[in-house]
Symmetry: C2
Subunit: 343 residues, 2 copies
């Protein structure tokens, strides 16, 4: 192998490898001039300390793993963007893993990460319906882990979430104030914490306004686009709701498509509000009223929490929780007011 390494650089400069090594760390005792000389020569010969050797020696990787259910989702890509930024500022790299909402992949990823590849993990979980005790099997050796958005309630680890209960209450209340009497709640898996919390807000808002709860109006959807299309169309036809609150963005899109097909007018016949991080919600037909989570900040905050642990400023098993605020933005899908500039 003719590639450069610390030894060759040392020979080329007539120095020892220790001195070379010192030139690359900040704290070490080294003569300014020699350091300069080394760095110059290093650049010339294109030398960089080998990452794997350093990590082996130092027992850390300066890498964090990010595990998300999906990537083609504005919320997650924005969150990752936030994570990436903070990680880079801290000199860390990020590995990305996509579970496609498959619990088994999540387990595989996590366990394969426990071989030194990453120093910590930031995850939005996929397997709430399954056994998440697998995370405890690592015991004290479990990697530092931070949850964001979709979490496991029973795992003791820091988390970044938004106030989903409050937002859902507010969303439902908004529909009621707009005159809705039969409000459907569309959810992907109502047993998951995120769907559950959001549903509770929905239920409590109904109750506050003494609107009778009709269990049928909780519509449990799937991850398949085709299935959802059928489920939602049936729900709209059979249940005749006058308002829809969707727990995830893509169910709102599916509702729009269904309404186009069924010639149901939004917002006249049906008002729609959704959790969504879509930046072009104002461009939809009609513009979509959203509960928007601060996705980028959530990512940044999750990364910061992780670094607190990695820098030993915090125990990795603490239950610290950061709650950020979502924002309801009212647009035409729930309101008949003429929009400014709208033709």
């Amino acid at each position: 192998m003719d590639s450069i390494n610390i030894k060759k650089l040392a020979e080329a400069l007539n120095l020892s490898t220790s001195t070379i090594s010192r030139a690359f760390r900040d704290n070490s005792d080294i003569n300014g001039a020699t350091k300069e000389r080394i760095l110059t020569k290093a650049k010339e010969l294109n030398y960089q300390p080998n990452h794997y050797a350093s990590n082996l020696r130092e027992q850390k990787s300066k890498t964090i793993a990010v595990i998300v259910p999906e990537l083609a989702n504005n919320y997650f890509s924005q969150a990752i963007h936030g994570i990436e930024r903070v990680a880079r500022e801290n000199g860390y790299h990020i590995l990305i893993y996509v579970t496609d909402d498959d619990y088994n992949k999540e387990v595989t990823f996590i366990s394969h990460l426990h071989n030194g590849r990453a120093d910590g993990i930031i995850m939005s979980v996929s397997g709430e319906a399954n056994d998440h005790n697998y995370l405890n099997q690592f015991e004290t050796k479990r990697l530092p882990l931070v949850f964001f958005d979709r979490i496991y309630d029973d795992i003791e680890t820091p988390r970044v979430i938004t106030n989903d209960y409050k937002s859902s209450f507010q969303a439902t209340e908004h529909l009621i104030e707009q005159g809705c009497k039969r409000i459907a709640y569309l959810v992907v898996n109502k047993s998951l914490s995120i769907g559950k919390t959001r549903m509770k807000g929905y239920l409590d808002a109904l109750s506050k306004y003494s609107i009778e709860f009709d269990e049928q109006l909780i519509v449990d959807c799937s991850n398949s686009y085709e299935e959802n299309s059928i489920i939602i169309k049936n729900a709209l036809v059979d249940l005749k709701p006058d308002g829809v609150f969707t727990s995830v963005e893509r169910l709102a899109f599916a509702t729009y498509y269904a309404c186009y097909d069924l010639e149901i007018s939004i917002p006249d016949d049906l008002k729609v509000i959704s959790f969504s991080s879509l930046e072009i919600a104002p461009l939809l037909n009609p513009s979509l009223t959203t509960i928007t989570q601060p996705a980028v900040e959530i990512g940044e905050e999750a990364a910061r929490l992780l670094f607190k642990i990695l820098d030993h400023h915090q125990d990795k098993n603490c239950f610290s929780e950061v709650v950020l605020d979502s924002k309801m933005i009212i647009r035409n899908s729930t309101s008949n007011l003429p929009e400014s500039g709208k033709k």
Copy 2:
């Protein structure tokens, strides 16, 4: 340190470390029974071969780096999804780097990757206006590199692109057929290859239909949302185009916003077509006519090209080029035909 390693596992089983090591590689001579015994005990003690030690020893990382200009863009998140899938199937992991369209970050990322952290790179470039010869300075030691979508023409390395020229010609032709006489071309940086190629298709289509080319109608936009808003509004007011062809998705969104504000009706007063991977283009107001690139496949193909090199099936400096087809999908932003199911 009380963590498990190959030595402790060997002691626990009364075997040598080499035998343990062999149990974890497929090719080695090892007794089936002992292998079984080792694997069982390994699982029990939660042992996995240390990634950094293995990589140091084997001089490869089973990791590929993906560098993109931005993440909050449907095209790139879909492409990454494709890359991730193929990488995982091949037992590789992916590192993500976002340049925010900053050439300097790109250079930094690339040079820092040449320390063994990654075995290869898949990149959509950010710095066409700058010197990209930095990639050649690594000479024979340059990491295997595959470009996708935004490429450097003068770097000899495999690439995956779409037929931008043809698509742009087609897009412009479509506008002309819809009756447009003054077609503006919105581009982020017309000197970049992607903007240039797309512009050439535009120009040639104009020429085919003997439409005089007005240089003012090439509108050079920026990366700033606010600046673009002003630039585009001015262009619409001053130049009075009747058609707009935008080279990237977000310029189409900006055009929509501008039209809302200026009360310009799409498609009556202005027809709009854009390169875009937006899955909900049909939901826009009006639904957006797009040239849609097969983003996921582009990512997959790029990953496959890279693996061809990594598996030594192909030289890393070859100029192989994979061209995939984009698809024009006509919707309401360029047509007045009543849309099925549209109320």
